[in-house]
Structures are given as C-alpha cells and as structure tokens.
Symmetry: C2
Subunit: 399 residues, 2 copies
C-alpha cells in the first residue's frame, strides 16, 4: 500500500500544505479533530503580537494594531467557511459560553416556549449548557427528533458532526423541520467547521457556534465563534451583556445598550494573543479551501479503511464517507489500551469513553503515506494482540 500511498500523495493538490505546519517527525497525528496542529506561521505571528504589539505598542495597540477589531475580523474570515456573511459571525469566548448566550437568546425570541431539544450523547457541554440555562431540556434519539418537535420547543440544538461517531446530521432537513414546528435551530459546528462543507445561509439556520482549536488550528483553548442569522440581529438579546458588547464601550455608561448585530455577543476583553493565533489558522484553512479539504478528508478516511481491511474492530462511524465527519471511530472493548499502544508508536488518535477508538483525518497536514503506515500499525497490533501498552513494550524489547 505504500506505493499506492505515494502515488496518491503525488496527485494530492494539498500536498504542499503539509510543510505549512510544524509536526514532529516521529508522529502520525490522527487527533486534529481534538487539537489542530501548529501552523508554521503561528510562532512568528505570536512573537510579533507579544513582543511588538504588546511589548512596544502597549495600550496603544488596541487601536494601532486593531486589537479591538479582532473578534469581528476573525469572525468575518470564518464566515465563508461556514456559509455565512462576514457580519453574521464573531470570534469570542468558548463554545460553552457561546452556547449559553444563544440558548438564552432563543428562549427570548420564542416566548411561551421553554424546551430545548437535543439528542442523548450529544457533546456533553451542549447538554450541560442547556441544564445551566432556564430552559427545560428534552432529549430524543436522532431518528425521533423530528417527532419530538412540538409547540413547547423553542430551540433545536444539535452538533452537526457527532464528536464520537462522526455521524453528520442533515442540516437542511432538520432546520426545516424545526422551523416548521416554530422552533429555532442552533448548530454546533465544532466537528465540522473548516472540515466539512457547511452552508448555514442556504439551510436558513438561525444560530451556530464552533470551535477554534480543532480544524481551524487556532491552538489550545483558542476562542470559539458564534453565528447569528442577520434576520435575528435586531431582536437578539443575550444575558452575558458585558462591556465589549455595548454599543459604546468607552462611553462608560451605567446602562447597557447592545451593540449592533453580532457585536452584542461580545462580553469581556478578547484574548488578543490566542485570537491572533486563531487568525493564522483560519487564514490557512481559507487558503486551502473547505471543498478541497473535504475531498481529501474523504479520500484519506476511505484509504484508511481500505488499508486496514477487515478486522475485529466495529466501525461506529457511517460507512458512507459523505455521511460522516473527518474521522473514523471504532468500537472495541480494549479501545483504551489500543489507543495507548498506538500512541506509544507515535500514532496519536484518541479514546472516547467507554469503548471508542477515534481516529481523525485532518486533511490539512496528513499524507496518504501517514494513513498507510497508521493502518498497517493498527493492523499489526490487532494481529499480534498486543493490547496492553506495557506488554507491547516488553514484546518490542525482546524482538
């Protein structure tokens, strides 16, 4: 398969982008869906924002380096990656905090309705933020969601690509179903934004949030982003009404007046250094293009399945590459030991409790050769039954 892999790499239109990232030589990184890799341009840009903008510019850089405009500028660059207009997206806070803002906003926009509908097994923070809000939480399995939409439901909150299985919702169909029932929709794009084609506008989505540190390569704890469809801009109210979301933050008025549009989602002072790192990552994704990334992602995961062949692993991701995110998840009762054994060999995927081995195929920096090698290693580990990391090391030491 290595020859095949090299041919595929030769033909890969994104092949040159591998060198735009700094990755350790000894690692095959199948966890970009958890934390994206480091763009080569990021350290220099961060050194500049720290040394020059902070160190030399000091407080003046809020204006001279346009720190104050970062949330809008970075949000505006994320917008085309998710089918939104630039003024509909803002980069700020965490996914969790943005969920709270938009759950609360949806309840305000749908008076008399108090239910937020989601699915069991959604990413935990999505469910926890519903719990923390004043909404009543209702959970229904994905095949029962449409039927669970009644006139109590203010908001349908779903994760577009499931964090554990990668299964992708039909965004257009579910958005329509929610709207038909009089509910709003909030899409969590953490596992799809920057990796899969997302077209919020054509779906008529109301709200979305997404993660900056996965496919956008913004670094650990990068700011998240939030989308609000333009038609909701004027009526939108959210409770985290901090000074940065005020119409005139530097008027220092005692009374809150929301800024226009998505700016009112801002709360506290933006994390300038991480926001700058996120901008580098976003620029890179925009340059590669989501369509090309998505095509390569599907090719990588299909090639992995081909290289791996039939094993005792149970694929829990959809077998149709179009129906899953940029990942393959396998169920095995020894999934944890398996993931540790892979990591000891420099093949970094991850484990999701209780029994999932999750392998991500971030197309920006993976080669087909990486894929062939990772599949061969997994196959060998399965064939030799070397589950246990310590046992595996002992075997390695004596052979």
């Amino acid at each position: 398969m290595l020859l095949r892999a090299r041919e595929l790499d030769e033909a890969d239109p994104l092949a040159d982008y591998r060198d735009r990232f700094l990755l350790p030589d000894e690692v095959i990184y199948l966890d970009g869906n958890s934390l994206g890799a480091l763009p080569r341009a990021t350290p220099k840009r961060i050194a500049e924002v720290v040394g020059t903008e902070w160190g030399h510019g000091l407080i003046r850089s809020w204006n001279s380096a346009d720190w104050i405009g970062l949330p809008q500028r970075v949000g505006g660059k994320i917008a085309p990656l998710i089918g939104a207009a630039p003024h509909e997206v803002i980069a700020c806070d965490s996914v969790s905090v943005n969920l709270f803002k938009l759950i609360s906003a949806a309840l305000e926009l749908r008076p008399g309705r108090n239910v937020v509908l989601s699915e069991p097994g959604n990413f935990p923070t999505d469910l926890y933020m519903i719990e923390g809000s004043r909404a009543e939480q209702r959970l229904a399995d994905r095949e029962s969601l449409a039927g669970a939409l009644d006139d109590c439901v203010a908001l349908l909150l779903l994760t577009h690509a499931h964090y554990k299985t990668g299964a992708v919702f039909d965004m257009a169909a579910l958005t329509k179903a929610a709207h038909d029932a009089g509910a709003l929709v909030l899409w969590d794009l953490s596992h799809s934004g920057g990796a899969l084609p997302v077209d919020l506008r054509s779906c008529g989505a109301d709200f979305a949030v997404g993660c900056g540190y996965k496919y956008l390569n913004g670094g650990p704890g990068a700011p998240a982003y939030a989308f609000v469809a333009e038609r909701h801009h004027d009526a939108l109210r959210q409770p985290l009404s901090g000074w940065m979301g005020h119409a005139q933050p530097f008027a220092f008025d005692d009374a809150y007046r929301p800024a226009p549009g998505v700016d009112r989602l801002l709360c506290g002072t933006p994390p300038v250094i991480q926001m700058t790192a996120l901008e580098v990552g976003v620029d890179l994704v925009a340059e590669m293009g989501v369509e090309r990334l998505w095509a390569k992602s599907r090719a990588l995961s299909e090639f992995f399945r081909e290289c791996l062949g039939k094993t005792e692993l149970e694929l829990v991701s959809p077998t149709d590459a179009d129906a899953r995110g940029s990942q393959l998840s396998y169920r095995h009762e020894e999934a944890y030991a398996l993931s540790q054994t892979l990591i000891a060999r420099g093949i970094i995927g991850d484990f999701r409790a209780p029994d999932i081995l999750r392998l991500g195929f971030a197309p920006a920096y993976l080669t087909f050769e990486d894929i062939a090698r990772a599949a061969a290693a997994l196959r060998e580990i399965l064939d030799t039954g070397a589950w246990d990391r310590d046992e595996f090391r002992q075997r390695a030491a004596v052979t």
Copy 2:
C-alpha cells in the same frame, strides 16, 4: 527634582525589577492599570508553550505539560496576593463572565432575595452583568450603600479600587455591613489585585473576581480569576455549567455533576497560551511582593504630586495615598486633548470619559525618574497651554 528622583531610585528595593520587563525606551508608561507591561520572561515562555508544547506535544500536552491543571495552578498562585487559600481561586474566562457566574450563584444562595446592590459609576461591565442576570439592580451612592442594604439584597457587588478615581472601599466594613443585612459580597479586584493589599479571608468576603491583564501583567485579554470562600464551596451553583466544570469531564456523561470547590466555575476549554503568559506575570508579582509594590506605588504617586505642584487640574482621587489605588486621576475639561498631548511626548496615561486624565503608577516597572519627567512634562504642557495635540505639534515645529 531629577536628582531627588535618582536618589529615590537608588534606594528603591524594587529597582532591579525594571529590567525584568521589556518597555520601549522612549516611553513613560502610566497605563499599567489598563494593560500591564510585558515581562521579559514571557516571550520565551510563550514560544515554548507554542513551539514545544503545542507543536511537538500536540494533544498529549494536556497531560504531559499539565495544561489541564493550569486554571487551578494559576489561581493558586494568585490566591496569596489577595488573601485567599489556593483552593479558593481559579483562573478562567473574563471578569465579565465570572461576574455573571457569581451573581447567579449568590441569587441561588439567598433564595427570596433578588436585589444586587452596587454604586452608580461602578465599572460598566459590573453593572451590565447585573442587568443581564435575573437580579434586580439597585444603585446607591457610596455613602448611602450601608443604608441601602435591606432584606431584599442578595448581593453587594463593588469594585474595591474605583477604575476612574482610584477611591478604595473599606472592604472589611462593607463586607460586615452586607453580612449584617444577610447579604453576600462580591468584590471586583480588577484595580487592586496585585497592586494593593487585599485580605479576602480576614474580611470574610464571599466572592471576588479580578483581572489578569492589569497589575498581574498577563497580556492583552489574559484570563481573569474568581474567588469563592471555602464555606460556600459545597452549595455553590452557577449556570455556566460547561464540561470543564464537570466532576469528570472525560467521562462524557449526559448529565452535569459539578466538580468540587472552585473547579465548578470552569466552563469551556482554558486558553492555554494566555494562561501561560498570565502565570509568568503572576510569578513576577509574587516575587516582588504586594507589600513592597504597594509601598512603592504610594511613594511614586506622592512624588508625582510633589513634582507636579499646584496646577489647574482637579484631583479626583483621594488625597490620602492609603485611600486610593495605584493611580491619580485629574479632572479637566480638556482631559482628552491633554492625554493625547502627553502620549505624543511618549507619556502614556489614559482618558476616561468625559473629563478624566488617568495616570497609573504600576510600581513594578516605573522609576522615580519616570515620575519626575512625566510630572515636568505635564506641568510644561499646562503652563504653555498646548492642549491641542495638533497645535502642540505646530508649536514644537516652530520653536
């Protein structure tokens, strides 16, 4: 005065710390109360967290570099600076977001009471976050606060050192007054933490929040911190119940169970890079010691007043150095032009609408010579009447 200043610098026990910061030569920085200066150690530490921990360690660094423990570790280091125990403080989110958590928590702890009492002219975000919460906001002038504490008041929320005037509240007395009325107290330490002596425990304070990018020198948009007195740890509930505040975030349970103690204030993924920068700043403040910083701060501001002498400026900060924070604020109808004229000369203070020239005396990196030069420049500008920046430049060009 320059000779006097040099003598004072000679005798300054913190003089050597000036070189632990990177400041541009041509600047006298009187705005550390808005954005602290860059510690010399920060760029290297950031380069390490970016290049080595993110770039090489990748997802593994959550454990191997203990990214996951950063909020507790940094919070624990801030604790002794504000008279708290390490397990009572956590670094996370922004001041605004932390205010929301603790306002909401206070309302839960005082059922039947719905009022949050503050003062008009408090820092805007403190007032705006009360507005955003489900509380009823009540404002009373600082001399009327004690009288406004009735059995409707769940929480007294005040900023210890006023952002505009620097006036400092008697934390012990107001905490006692609130407790006598059955209310809880939340202190915003943004303009005092790391600059003034704060002893939350001996005052019996319930909650506090504070800023990471002012006197703690954590960089633009550094994470904030939050304090919860140990006696409230078990009963504390807050609505931003994100996955990082779960008892077992990586169990990925559908139902939220709060983590023990202040950990339940966590919400989303911590901003690792900015958190690391904050740690460097906090370590430096801890090394200098708040008592020494506070002594120098008072000496700097008193020396400034002496150097400036009598002018048409109206001091709105308390004349007693013990009754104000690390700043002097002057009222003048041309305060904006005055601040711009100073900035054009490399003397960076700031303007606070509508008519305040605010000069900060961050003692970590200012010299007495800086103070003498800044005062002389201000005096000269006032004497020559060169208010207008453009006019001042024209004068400078022809003389």
